[in-house]
Symmetry: C2
Subunit: 818 residues, 2 copies
């Protein structure tokens, strides 16, 4: 294996691999910068366009500024609590990863602050670019569809690249700092991920508030604008006479762009760290079984970061390849071509990285087993996208059924949509289950029989990495949605010619599809990533309880942390976790309802004194709606109402872990941590299912309405006996469903994705709180007095305690080429 | 303890306790017979009333006949499969409860058939009595409110008593047969519950189809009748000109009466058997610790049955005490008085039974600890009722919020209802969690410290028994609902004077409340009972795997069956279990939507040629709707659509258990059974939450509409500028919510209660299928070569293997009085 000669010592390996990762991350950031320059150099269209765009810009920036202020204050409180808890309250233990409580506190708090900060920046920049890309996309649509398509995608790609590259840079950078400052004793690099778990928590903490606040904002404005505008006043969508229309357009930026950016930032960050923890566990186990990887433990630990780095390059190529040959081209096809290129390249890079870093002379089949796991991940993401399409596009049975049901009114429309939403959970769960079991068993068989090393859990981690390999491209497609939506709004409000509107309409409809698809992708990856993070949590509990690698005197075996759901305390933990999902969803949906009602009241107030004829408002030519009033109302409302659900999610797992410590006794020293694990796992299961229900029902309702608007069941308007155009009640029924679906699919659903991952990262960081540490847990494995059972093979007798520096095996050096 | 002298030998104890139970059950049945006679002796009112009642009767009987035919065929298939599986395919094992495979097959199949048969009878008689009580209640309302109230309650009580007494009689009878035919070797009475688990499965199998079929029927008819009748044609509810009105009234009988009867029958049956299994486990453990109960193992095993017998007597007294002093009395208060009497008496009986049968000289505090567990159960049922009231009655915030949201149209009404439904899961979960943990820890401390006996799991079983103690009364109140609903329909359709209608309206509104409350009770008891049944399943898996009481050579400890959710295979089992809940709900709701649409089409067909003025139908005086056509359509539709969801629920856990056997290996011999356990447990958690969501959202939507009908937000009609009465759009919006809630609260929700318990009983019966039996699982505990760990107290060294007859302790004899 000639590549192995690239580095001779573990230190050189570390420098080389970290170097690759950091350089690629910086390249990703630089490329994002290049795209910003490319976007900013284009035309900003007509003065009317700029006027509208400026209104959106100022609304979005004002909201994000105020939102970030609130989030920063909350994050500061958490940071102080973390530092006090880890640095001062908690006593130092010999098995801690660093030498003193203060150092541990500083690491955890510091990485939390950095993660939170990066997440804030990711969200802010995403919004900043998208509000500048909107108008340029609108202006490009005056020229050609291809120009507009490329503009919107490249603007979206800024977010995508920024998020993925920054999360990678953060993790690699923290790792580099830890390693070059000798934060952990030599040879204990496997403990470094424990120091930087705060990064993931900081990222998800910010993401939760950003997604909840942005989600409430966008849908309250949307529902409010639609209900009084379209339904009551009878004016079209995005009509400049609607006072809530700017708030609606602002919402797309702060909810869909900023929120989703923060969300995917924390996904990739948490997944990077979790995969490193599992990689460290696997590599240590392999080392104990005398299986030495070519690049040692370090190489395996760096594998997730290196694979991700290749994914960034693949995504960049994919993004740059997207173009339309002519005006008649299908933009969705163009995006798909780019995606397939990105996915294909990412898989080539993935395979190479497997062969390079997961190769061991004594386990020659390991690397390709893990490569298969990665392919399972990619296939899973394809399947998720197909299933989401089936349930939310109107070419298929589910959406058609909802449209049919609209013929008997809004009630049957809703009933039918609820049924579709419930049903749509089945296939994704089967796929997720299949992916987990498949990658687990492929990973389990990666090592030679009898070696005693199981790569099963790492296999599931690799599958997750495979699924997230093209995250940057996916996020670019996702941000494409709100950009085209806004571009359409700007074109509509500035009354551009029909041909231009048609172009933005086509892009907008593609944007709706990509938004729905990436939601399916997000929930699927959240499910897989969560499973990986559970395992990281369980590893961590053993570390911090001092039981890692120790013998349980009651069984004579190495302690294993199990989550026994049949224990009442654990079962109740699970029950509470699942309940949290429902209560949180209730809060999100209720917040939208309330905020929408205040918008409606405000719009009605502005319309109150306008002249009416036949109950239709006759707008005077000089009517100037007060956009700012609506923006202000929804800003305040969203900020106020994002606090409670956020605090609920952060506080609940901590409360369970701390309160359930009363159940700790000699036989069950880890019972509170076990209840938290059940809280996390059953909460994740519930979260996946409820998110699928909300996302897909919402998407299906939306498209059932769109399907009717294409002319099905009479279309939008009917003609009465006297030849007048009258509203079609079937369409009106479908509008009810669409409105109900809004907070489901764009507030509660996406917030649940964040919730799932926040639960994982918060428990990772808080784990030490849930443990009553005892120093006398049984003899050390290397204790000569250690017991064995007659007739039983001595378990792991020569297994070193990896947390005793003296006993750590000398770091494995890469083998020389054969 | 003077009562102890009542029996000298275990045989005498058995005869005495079984005698008490069987005599009380027979008394309960006889009393139900007396109530039937009492009801049948009353007047059946006017000829018009009889005509309507006859139409309902023939529709209900026709549906139930056809439904039962289908169910019997399905049950026969299952019975054959059970017999072949247990009697022929499965090899006999030495640790089996009986001497041969054939005998085991016969027992399991026989008890299944008996349970199914009793469940069919319970449903049929419930319907039979209720369609005869309807008309008599209507007729009694001509005289006085008190007469009508008592008529409806006593008619309902027939179901209640029949169900509870029959389930008790079945279990006690099967036990008696097993014991007196010496089916199990002497001294192995603890194995008898394993023989009769089929009874619970048979009961829930029938209950599922009855509830799903009846639930689809009742709501399809209701939704269909309302949408064309009230909304399109503008005729009032229960108007005889509506062709779907008879189908709607039939639905109340076949869905609410027959379905709920079968549901509660299986609840009590499964709970009786599950509690006996746990009692047997506890009593054996106590015997091994030399703690002898006054009535021995038999006394403890009979405790659940004896306590239930007292509950029947208490319920009878409560039912007979209900009366109104005068016309102004509040019927709800009268029902509450009866309930408090029943609950109070039941608790006295419960306390006495605890003191009598759970008393041991060496554990003098045990009995009152378990009594406290029982009280926890009763308090839990009170809390559930209060919480349900808070979320579904219009005196409180949630329903008012929905009514407020209706002012901005149906979309905000639905959004608000979804939020209320999600939110309403929180408090019940906290109460359930508190009850489980509370009773677990009270039970755990029931025995002296150091005795090594833990009554924790039995404590949770006792809490469930406390909650179900007044099941007969609760069921009477529940059946009261559809009876008064039908009585109101008959009064309305036969155009009785205003005063009579007012009386039935008052009762109907009370009936709506009791229906909602008992739904809260049902889901709460399902949650507690499920936890009990998990434990029974786990005990059973150990029995049938031959590992019960054996030492695991890998750990040197007695095998414990754990459900480790962090294992991928187990986690996927849990994920699938939760998904089943969503998919099943989808099927139920979708079935209602489809069946309702065919009703709507039929009614529109019948109305098509009627003259119209201003879009309002002008009914000719001789208009005769074709009721039978609607009844026929909905019958066919409900029967066709109950099959798939039923088969799904039965087949899924079996499929998981059998398919996941591929993951069995030496280290994980029970992995498939473990995955099924997770399927069951996480499925139950999901089932509880989704059922609460559906029930409470549905109830809240219903009452938000009723609240507006009391005049809030303008009431049902507004007056326009010209002084004409026009429909209030706020009310129309609330009607949409009400309609959406119908299939949620009356089809999917209650069916989920049955699903939860069916999952438990089916896994109990199918457990042997999921196990790969190996005969060489480690040394027996009594093996002298058995290992101990240095410094560890020899665990259970003198613990006999209860499945080796030679080693069984001589059955404990009751202590003589001190």
């Amino acid at each position: 294996m000639p590549i192995a000669v690239l580095a001779d010592t573990p230190q050189e390996t570390e420098v080389m691999l970290l170097g690759i990762v950091i350089i690629v991350s910086l390249f990703g950031l630089a490329f994002a910068g290049y795209l910003v320059k490319w976007v900013m150099a284009r035309s900003t269209g007509t003065p009317q366009m700029r006027e509208i765009s400026d209104a959106i810009k100022s609304g979005a920036e004002a909201f994000l500024r105020r939102q970030n202020k609130t989030i920063v204050m909350l994050a500061a409180l958490v940071a102080v609590a973390l530092f006090v808890g880890y640095g001062i309250v908690r006593e130092h233990r010999t098995f801690d990863p660093v030498h003193s409580s203060m150092a541990l506190g500083a690491w955890v708090t510091g990485s939390f602050v950095l993660g939170a900060l990066c997440s804030l920046i990711a969200g802010y920049v995403g919004m900043w670019v998208s509000i500048r890309t909107n108008i340029r996309t609108a202006s490009a649509a005056i020229n050609s569809l291809n120009d507009a398509l490329r503009m919107a995608l490249r603007g979206g790609a800024v977010s995508g690249l920024l998020v993925v590259a920054m999360s990678l840079l953060g993790v690699a950078g923290l790792y580099a700092v830890a390693t070059f400052t000798n934060a952990v004793p030599d040879g204990e690099e496997t403990k470094i991920p424990l120091l930087i778990v705060g990064y993931g928590f900081g990222a998800s903490f910010v993401a939760l508030f950003a997604q909840v606040g942005g989600g409430i904002y966008t849908k309250a404005a949307d529902v409010g604008a639609d209900l009084v505008g379209k339904v009551e006043a009878g004016i079209p969508e995005d009509d400049p006479r609607n006072p809530a229309v700017i708030a609606d357009l602002v919402g797309d930026n702060v909810g869909d762009c900023a929120g989703r950016g923060a969300d995917l930032f924390e996904s990739t960050a948490a997944e990077n760290i979790g995969a490193m923890i599992l990689a460290a566990t696997l590599a240590s186990a392999a080392a104990r079984a005398n299986i030495d990887f070519n690049y040692g433990i370090i190489g395996v630990m760096m594998f997730p970061l290196v694979a991700r780095a290749f994914g960034i390059i693949a995504s960049i190529v994919g993004i740059m390849m997207v173009k339309l040959r002519n005006e008649q081209g299908d933009p969705m096809k163009a995006l798909n071509v780019g995606y397939f290129i990105a996915a294909g390249l990412a898989m080539i890079g993935f395979g190479f990285t497997c062969w390079w870093l997961l190769n061991a002379q004594d386990a020659p089949d390991a690397w390709w087993h893990f490569f298969i796991c990665g392919i399972i991940g990619v296939v899973t993401s394809f399947l998720f996208v197909f299933i989401t399409q089936y349930y939310t596009e109107y070419h298929y049975r589910p959406v058609r059924e909802i449209a049919d049901a609209s013929r008997t009114g809004p009630a049957t429309n809703i009933i039918s949509g609820i049924a579709v939403g419930f049903e749509s959970t089945a296939l994704p769960v089967l796929v997720t289950g299949g992916a987990l079991l498949g990658s687990y068993f492929v990973g389990k068989n990666a090592f030679p029989e009898g070696s005693g090393v199981s790569g099963g859990l790492f296999g599931t981690a690799v599958a997750t990495m495979g699924m997230l390999a093209t995250a940057a491209y996916i996020l670019a497609m996702d941000t494409f949605g709100p950009i085209t939506d806004n571009a359409g709004g700007i074109v509509e409000m500035s009354r551009q010619p029909e041909a231009v509107r048609e172009r933005t309409d086509r892009l907008d409809s593609v944007g709706n599809t990509t938004k729905a698809l990436t939601k399916g992708y997000a929930v699927g990856s959240a499910g897989l990533a969560a499973f990986l993070l559970f395992q990281a949590y369980m590893d961590e509990v053993l570390h911090y309880s001092g039981l890692y690698g120790k013998v349980d005197p009651a069984t004579g075996r190495v302690y294993e942390f199990t989550v026994n759901l049949s224990q009442p305390v654990v079962f109740v933990g699970g029950l509470l976790g699942c309940m949290l999902v429902f209560l949180f969803s209730a809060m999100c949906i209720r917040a939208v309802g309330k905020a929408a009602q205040s918008i409606i009241a405000e719009v009605r107030r502005q319309f109150a004194n306008l002249p009416r004829k036949n109950d239709m408002i006759q707008f005077p030519d000089d009517f100037k709606p007060d956009y700012a009033a609506c923006v202000d109302i929804v800003t305040k409302s969203a900020l106020r109402q994002m606090i409670m659900p956020g605090i609920l999610v952060v506080a609940s797992p901590i409360a369970v872990g701390v309160l359930f410590r009363v159940f700790i006794d000699d036989e069950n020293p880890l019972i509170a941590a076990e209840a938290v694990a059940a809280f996390l796992m059953v909460g994740t299961i519930g979260g996946i299912l409820v998110a699928l229900f909300l996302n897909n029902a919402g998407g299906a309702w939306d498209n059932a309405k769109k399907y009717i608007e294409t002319g099905a069941h009479g279309g939008k308007y009917l003609t009465d006996a006297a030849g007048n155009k009258i509203k079609n009640p079937v369409h009106a029924a479908a509008v009810v469903g669409d409105t109900v679906g809004d907070p489901c699919k764009d507030t509660a659903g996406p917030s649940l994705h964040v919730l799932i991952k926040l639960l994982s990262t918060i428990t990772l960081v808080m784990a030490p709180l849930f443990i009553a540490v005892k120093d006398d847990h049984g003899p050390d494995l290397r204790d000569p007095a250690r017991v064995t059972l007659p007739g039983e093979p001595v378990p792991d007798a020569d297994r070193p305690n990896v947390f005793d520096p003296a006993a750590t095996p000398t770091p494995t050096t890469p083998t020389t080429p054969q």
